[in-house]
C-alpha cells in the first residue's frame, strides 16, 4: 500500500520535468537514425568486403549500431533521475516524505526502469525494422534464428544501461561527477579496452561489452568470447546489481544531502 503511494509519487516526479522527455527522445532518435545510416552504408560497402568479413556480416547487429551513441542519452536520463534529487536539495523533502530509504530508492528505480524498458523496447524494435529496410536484400528477418532474442535483448540492454547509471548516480550523487565518469567510460574507455589486445580479455567483462553480445546473431569467425548472449547479459546484470546495491547501502548510511 505505502509502496504503491511512493511509486505513484515517483511517477509524478518523472513526468513533471522536461529532462525526461528530452533525454529519452534523444536516445530514441539517435539510436534509430544512426542505426539506419550505418545500415545503409553497410549495404553499399558489402561488395567491397572480404570473404571473411562477409561471413561475419550480421544485419541484426548492424541495425543496432546506433546503440553505442544512443545509450549516452539513456545514461543521462538515468543519472538525472537520481542526481536531480541531490542537485536541487529535493532529497531532503523526498526522505522526509518517505523515510524508509529502501522504499524510496527502489520505487524511484522501479518507475524509471519501467519507463526506460518501454521506451527501450520500442526503440529496439523500431531500429531493427528500419535498419533492415535500409539493408535491402541483405536484411535479416525477425523470424530467423536468434533474431527475436537479439531485438528483445536490445531493449533489455538499454534498460540495464540506464539502471546501471541510476545506481552509479545514487553512489556519486553529483550529476557532473556521474556523467563525467560514465560518459567517457562508455564512449571511449570501454572501446579502447575492448580493442587493445592486451586489455581485450578484461574489456569484454565490462557491462556494455558483455551486455551488447545479446544483440549479436552471427558469431564472428574466430570469436573466442567465453560467454554467449544471455551469459553476456547476465554479466551486465551483475554490474547493475552491484551498482544498485552500492547505491542503496550508501543512501542508507549517509545523511540526506
Amino acid at each position: 500500500m505505502a509502496t504503491a503511494q511512493v511509486v505513484r509519487s515517483e511517477w509524478t516526479k518523472i513526468r513533471s520535468v522536461a529532462s525526461t522527455v528530452w533525454t529519452l527522445s534523444t536516445a530514441v532518435v539517435v539510436t534509430i537514425a544512426l542505426g539506419m545510416l550505418i545500415s545503409a552504408l553497410s549495404k553499399n560497402e558489402f561488395d567491397n568486403l572480404s570473404q571473411r568479413e562477409k561471413l561475419s556480416f550480421d544485419p541484426t547487429f548492424i541495425s543496432f549500431a546506433g546503440t553505442g551513441l544512443g545509450q549516452l542519452a539513456m545514461i543521462v536520463f538515468g543519472v538525472l533521475v537520481v542526481s536531480n534529487e541531490y542537485s536541487t536539495g529535493m532529497i531532503r523533502a523526498s526522505l522526509a516524505a518517505v523515510p524508509k530509504r529502501g522504499v524510496f530508492l527502489f520505487s524511484k528505480l522501479a518507475v524509471a526502469t519501467a519507463l526506460v524498458f518501454v521506451v527501450g523496447m520500442a526503440t529496439s524494435f523500431a531500429t531493427f525494422f528500419l535498419g533492415q529496410l535500409m539493408l535491402g536484400d541483405l536484411k535479416a528477418s525477425i523470424g530467423d534464428d536468434g533474431v527475436l532474442r537479439a531485438v528483445f535483448g536490445g531493449g533489455l540492454y538499454m534498460t540495464l544501461i540506464a539502471l546501471f547509471s541510476m545506481g552509479v548516480a545514487t553512489m556519486l550523487r553529483s550529476p557532473m561527477l556521474s556523467l563525467g565518469i560514465l560518459m567517457p567510460f562508455f564512449f571511449l574507455i570501454s572501446n579502447i579496452l575492448g580493442n587493445v589486445s592486451a586489455t581485450e580479455k578484461v574489456g569484454r567483462f565490462l557491462p556494455d561489452q558483455a551486455g551488447s553480445k545479446i544483440m549479436q546473431v552471427v558469431t564472428p569467425v574466430d570469436d573466442d568470447t567465453p560467454y554467449g548472449p544471455w551469459g553476456g547479459l547476465g554479466i551486465m546484470a551483475l554490474w547493475v546489481i552491484a551498482a544498485v546495491v552500492g547505491g542503496y547501502v550508501l543512501l542508507k548510511r549517509r545523511d540526506a544531502q
Binding site: 505505502a2 503511494q5 511512493v6 505513484r8 509519487s9 515517483e10 509524478t12 516526479k13 513533471s16 520535468v17 522536461a18 529532462s19 536531480n84 536541487t88 536539495g89 529535493m90 532529497i91 531532503r92 523533502a93 523526498s94 526522505l95 522526509a96 516524505a97 518517505v98 523515510p99 524508509k100 548510511r253 545523511d255 540526506a256 544531502q257
Partner: protein, 324 residues
C-alpha cells in the same frame, strides 16, 4: 510533541549539536534561538531522520521518525534549503509530496490557496521569488494537516508583509493546539512570536524557559553609577540598604532603586558621581551576552571564568542556562 534526549551530531571533528535534551510541547509556539552555526538546522534535520545522530535520540509523539506511517500527516517542515526542482511547477511539487503520503489531491489546491499561490500554481518554481518559494515550502509543510509543524528560519529574506503573514500563521497554528517549533537567529523575531524559548549556542543548550520568564529576567532596568570614590559610594548605598553589583569598567549597577534616590544618597554623603544613568538591557543584548558566554565557556573549557564574569553570569541566568 518532539522529545530530544542527549541528541548529538558530529561532522568529523566539528561538534554541531552537543547533547541537546528538551521537549517541544503542543499548543504553543516554541522558539529555537541561536546565532548562525549554533546547530539549529542540524537539530531539525535530525528530528526528521535526515541526518543520523552521532548519539542520543529524538522522538515524534513517542515514535522514531522513520517508523511513522505517512510522516507528513504527523509533522510538516519547512527546511532551510528549499528542495524544489526548479523545472517543476508548484502544483506538481505538492502533488508528488501528497501522493507519497496518501494525501488527497484536493489538499494540494487547499494549501496553495491558503498560502496565496493559486495563481502561479502551474508556473515552474525557478521563476519564484524568495517569498514565493517560502510560501511554497510552507504549503508543503501544511499539506498533511499535521499536528506538529517545524519551520527553519521562515522569515529569512521576506518582506514585512510576508513576515507578518508567517507570524500570524504560526500563532494561529499553535492556537489550534498544534506543536509549532520555529528557529531564528534573531531574538527580536522570537520575542514577537514565541511563547517558549529554547536557546542554543555552539550546539549546547543555554536556556529552556518560557518567554515571559525570559523577558522578566532579561529586560531588567538598572542604574549605572560611576564614581571616583567607589568605596565611599558603596558604603553609603549599603547603609541605605541598596545593593550594587560590579558592572563593566569599574562601574556599579543598582537594581530596583531610582536614579534620583541614588543621586540624593551620594549628595548626602558627599560622594562625587561621574555617571548616574538609567539603563535598559534589551532582549537582544541579553541573547548576545548569553551566547557570547557560551563561546567563552567553550574557550575556557576546564579553566574557571574570571570571578567577575562568573558572578554576572549567575545573576543573569540563575539555573536556567545550566539546565542543559
Amino acid at each position: 510533541m518532539i522529545e530530544l534526549e542527549g541528541l548529538t551530531k558530529r561532522y568529523g571533528e566539528k561538534v554541531a549539536v552537543d547533547h541537546l535534551t528538551f521537549t517541544v510541547r503542543p499548543g504553543i509556539v516554541t522558539g529555537f534561538l541561536g546565532p548562525n552555526g549554533a546547530g539549529k538546522s542540524t537539530t531539525m534535520r535530525m528530528i526528521l531522520g535526515l541526518d543520523h545522530p552521532t548519539a542520543g535520540d529524538v522522538r515524534i509523539d513517542g515514535t522514531h521518525y522513520e517508523r511513522l506511517q505517512d510522516p507528513l500527516t504527523y509533522i510538516g517542515a519547512l527546511l532551510e534549503a528549499k528542495g524544489v526542482h526548479p523545472g517543476r511547477s508548484a502544483y506538481n511539487h505538492l502533488l508528488w509530496l501528497a501522493q507519497s503520503n496518501g494525501i488527497p489531491e484536493r489538499r494540494v489546491r487547499e494549501v496553495l490557496d491558503e498560502v496565496g499561490l493559486t495563481a502561479v500554481a502551474r508556473k515552474k518554481a525557478k521563476g519564484f521569488s524568495l517569498g514565493m518559494g517560502q510560501r511554497l515550502g510552507i504549503a508543503a509543510a501544511l499539506l498533511g494537516d499535521p499536528r506538529i509543524l517545524m519551520f527553519d528560519e521562515p522569515v529569512n529574506g521576506l518582506d514585512p508583509e510576508g513576515i507578518h503573514w508567517i507570524r500570524t500563521l504560526m500563532k494561529s497554528l499553535a492556537q489550534q493546539g498544534r506543536t509549532v517549533f520555529v528557529s531564528s537567529h534573531l531574538m527580536s523575531e522570537m520575542a514577537l512570536t514565541a511563547d517558549h524559548l529554547v536557546v542554543i549556542g555552539q550546539g549546547r543548550l543555554l536556556a529552556d524557559t518560557s518567554m515571559a520568564q525570559f523577558i522578566e529576567r532579561n529586560s531588567r532596568s538598572y542604574v549605572r553609577v560611576r564614581s571616583p570614590q567607589r568605596e565611599a559610594l558603596l558604603d553609603a548605598l549599603h547603609q541605605a540598604g541598596v545593593t550594587a553589583v560590579d558592572g563593566p569598567d569599574g562601574t556599579l549597577e543598582v537594581d530596583g532603586t531610582p536614579a534620583g534616590t541614588i543621586g540624593e544618597l551620594a549628595a548626602a554623603n558627599g560622594v562625587v558621581l561621574h555617571e548616574l544613568s538609567p539603563q535598559q538591557a534589551s532582549l537582544e543584548e541579553a541573547f548576545m551576552q548569553l551566547t557570547a558566554e557560551s563561546v567563552e565557556y567553550h574557550a575556557h573549557a576546564g579553566t574557571p571564568l574570571p570571578p567577575q564574569q562568573q558572578q554576572r553570569q549567575q545573576q543573569q541566568w540563575g539555573e536556567s542556562w545550566r539546565k542543559g
